[in-house]
Amino acid sequence: MRRTLTTIWHTRGLARYLLLAGVLLTAAFVVLAVFAPWIAPYDFAQNSTEAGERLPKLAPPSGTHWLGTNDQFYDIWSRVVWGARTALQVVLLSVLLSALVGVPLGLASGFTGGWLDRVLVFLMDALYSFPSLLLAIVFSFLLRSAVGGGVLAAALALTAVYIPQYFRVVRNTTVSAREATYVEAARALGARPFTIMRKYLFGNVVQSVPVIGTLNAADALGTLAALGFLGLGIQPTEAAEWGYDLSRALDDTSAGVWWPALFPGLAIILLITALTLVGEGLNETLNPALRRRRLQQVSFAPLSREGGAR
C-alpha cells in the first residue's frame, strides 16, 4: 500500500495533476455526502420551512436558495447535497458488493480451473456482453418489487451489472499468477489451495481492483442517472437522486427555467469526471506499462482488453 502511494506521489507532470484534480473533486463530493445533514439547509424531501411555510416553486437562484428551487418545491442545493450522499451510497455499495462477489469468484475460478472455470467464464462473458443499461433496466425492474424503489434496489441492480468485470480481470490475473514460481513453490511445500489463494494470489490480484472499482463507480453513476431518467430508478420520496431530478427538470428547461436541470446535471458530470480521472490516473501510475517517469523510457504494451476501459 505504501509502495503504491509512493508511486503515485512520484508521478510527474500532467498525469499527476489530473489525478490530483480527480481526487480533490471526489473528496469534495465525499464531504458533501458525509456531512449532508449539516451542509444542506433542508431535508431531501422537505418542501416547507420549519415554520410550516411552503418553499417557493421554481424560484431562481438567490440568497435564500443558492441554486433556486425546483418544481417540487425542493431546495436544489439541498437536493444536490443529499444527491451526493445517495450517489455515493449506491455506488459504494454496488462497487463493494460486486467486488465482494466478483473477486473471490474470479480467484476460485481461475485457481481451480477445469469445468467450473469454463462455465463461470461463459456465464460472465455472456452477462458482460449485455449493454450495461439494458441489464440494469431488467434488474431494477426485477428488484423493485422485491426490495422497493430505494437505494438498496438501485445498488443491487448495479451490482449485478458490474460483477463480470471484476470476475474477468481477477480470473485472468489468477490464471497467469498461478504458474508463477513462488506459487509453484508454495504448492510444492504442500500449502492448501485456500491458503495459496489467500496468501499468495489475493495480494497479487487485488491490485487491479481499485482501478476497475473507480472506473466502474463512474460508469455506475451514469447508469444510475439513466435509470432515474427512464423512471426506473430511486423514487424522490426515498432519497434525492440527481438523475430523477434531472428528468423532472428537463420539462422546465424547454420553458427557459434552466436551474433545476443545470445543477444536478453538473453534479453528475463533475463526479463522473472526477472518478474517471482518479481511475485513469491510478491506471496510468499503477500500470507500469503506461507509466512515464523522468529520464525513463518505456515501451508501451498494447492496452489490455480487460483494462476496464469501457
Binding site: 498525469a15 469454463r118 456482453s129 449485455f130 449493454p131 431488467v138 426485477l142 451514469g222 434531472l246 428547461t253
Partner: protein, 343 residues
C-alpha cells in the same frame, strides 16, 4: 476466451464461431430466467384496473402464462432457434417484424454516431497524443472524460433547445418527416437506403437532416472513449522502432505523426468499435428516448414498462445476439489483420 488453443487461422476462426452457440444458449437462458421470475404480468399492466380477478386469470391462462416454467422455457428456446420471437402480448405485433421495421433506425443511428465520434475523436486524440503532457493534452483529455460523463439525455435536450432557438426549421425528432415516411416506399427497412433507392433527393436530404442531432449526441458520448484510445495508441506508436527510424532520417515531426504513427494507431480502432458496441446500444436507448427515434431502444423501454415479457424477451435476445455477432466479427477481422491477436 483464453481457453481456445493457439493454432492456425482457420482453426481459430472456426472455434470462435463455434463458441457462439453455447454463448447464445447461456444468453437466452439468462434472459428467460430474469424476465420470468419477475412478478407482475402484461395483462394486469394493460387492463388490470378494469377486470375482475377471475377474468384476469383466464386471460393469463389464454396466453399460456400459467403453464410450468420448464415448458415455457423449452418452447422459447425452440422458437428462437427458428427465429420466431413470438408476438407481443400488449399489442399483438410479431417481434421479428418490430426488429425488421425498427432495427434499421437503430442501425443508422449507431453508424452515424460512430461516424461523428470518429470525426471528433481522431483529430483530437491525435493532437493529444502528439502533444502529450501539454496543456492541450490536458484540455482534450478532460473534454474526452466530460463528454463521456455528461448524461446523454441532458446533452440531447440542450442541443434540441439550442437548435429550436437558432435554427427553427431544423427537425428535432423522428427519423424523417411525415411526408417522407409516407411517400418513400419501404423496401429495406432502412429509410435512408429506401430514399436513395427511390432516387428521391428531397427525402434523402430530409432523412439526413433528421439524423444529424441524434447521431451527433450519441457520437459525442462515444468520442470520449475513442479519444482516450487513439491518444494512447499514438503515444505508443511514436515509440515504435520504425517511427524512431523515420525521425532519425530527419522527417519533420508533423509528418512522422501523420504518416507513420497515426495510421498505425488506427488499427486498434476496429477493436474499439467492437468493444464499444455494447456501450453504444446503452447510449442508443437514451438517445432514441430523447429524440423520439423510431428504433429498438425506444420500443424496449415501452415494453419494459408494459411488462410485455414476449416483447422484452425478444428484443433483449436480439440485442444480445447482435453484441455477440459483432464481437465475433471483430475478433475474426482482427485475427485476419494482426496475427498476434490469436491466442
Amino acid at each position: 476466451m483464453g481457453s481456445a488453443a493457439s493454432g492456425s487461422l482457420p482453426r481459430y476462426i472456426l472455434i470462435r464461431i463455434l463458441l457462439v452457440v453455447p454463448m447464445m444458449f447461456v444468453l437466452l437462458s439468462i434472459v428467460f430466467l430474469l424476465l420470468r421470475v419477475a412478478p407482475g404480468d402484461p395483462v394486469t399492466a394493460a387492463v388490470g384496473d378494469k377486470l375482475s380477478p377471475e377474468a384476469l386469470e383466464s386471460r393469463r391462462a389464454a396466453l399460456g402464462l400459467d403453464r410450468p416454467m420448464l415448458v415455457q422455457y423449452l418452447e422459447y428456446l425452440g422458437n428462437v432457434a427458428q427465429l420466431d420471437f413470438g408476438r407481443t402480448i400488449s399489442d399483438n405485433r410479431p417481434v421479428l417484424e418490430i426488429i425488421k421495421n425498427q432495427g434499421g433506425a437503430t442501425l443508422t443511428l449507431t453508424l452515424g454516431a460512430f461516424l461523428f465520434a470518429l470525426l471528433i475523436a481522431l483529430p483530437l486524440g491525435r493532437l493529444a497524443g502528439r502533444h502529450r503532457d501539454t496543456a492541450l493534452d490536458a484540455v482534450i483529455r478532460v473534454f474526452g472524460v466530460v463528454s463521456y460523463a455528461a448524461p446523454i439525455f441532458w446533452v440531447g435536450i440542450l442541443l434540441v433547445l439550442f437548435v429550436i432557438t437558432y435554427v427553427p426549421d431544423w427537425p428535432t425528432f423522428g427519423i424523417a418527416s411525415a411526408e417522407t415516411e409516407f411517400y418513400v416506399p419501404d423496401r429495406t427497412g432502412i429509410i435512408l437506403l429506401d430514399a436513395v433507392l427511390a432516387n428521391d433527393s428531397a427525402s434523402v436530404l430530409d432523412v439526413l437532416q433528421h439524423h444529424v442531432l441524434p447521431c451527433f449526441t450519441l457520437g459525442l458520448l462515444l468520442s470520449g472513449v475513442i479519444i482516450r484510445l487513439v491518444r494512447v495508441n499514438v503515444i505508443q506508436s511514436l515509440k515504435d522502432d520504425y517511427v524512431e527510424a523515420a525521425r532519425a532520417r530527419g522527417i519533420p515531426e508533423r509528418r512522422v505523426v501523420r504518416k507513420h504513427a497515426f495510421r498505425n494507431a488506427l488499427v486498434p480502432v476496429i477493436t474499439v468499435i467492437g468493444l464499444q458496441f455494447a456501450l453504444t446500444l446503452s447510449g442508443a436507448i437514451l438517445t432514441e428516448r430523447t429524440f423520439n427515434w423510431p428504433g429498438l431502444g425506444n420500443e424496449l423501454v415501452d415494453y419494459v414498462t408494459a411488462r410485455d415479457y414476449v416483447a422484452v424477451q425478444g428484443l433483449v435476445t436480439f440485442f444480445a445476439v447482435a453484441v455477440v455477432i459483432v464481437s465475433v466479427v471483430v475478433d475474426v477481422l482482427n485475427a485476419l489483420v494482426d496475427p498476434r491477436v490469436r491466442y
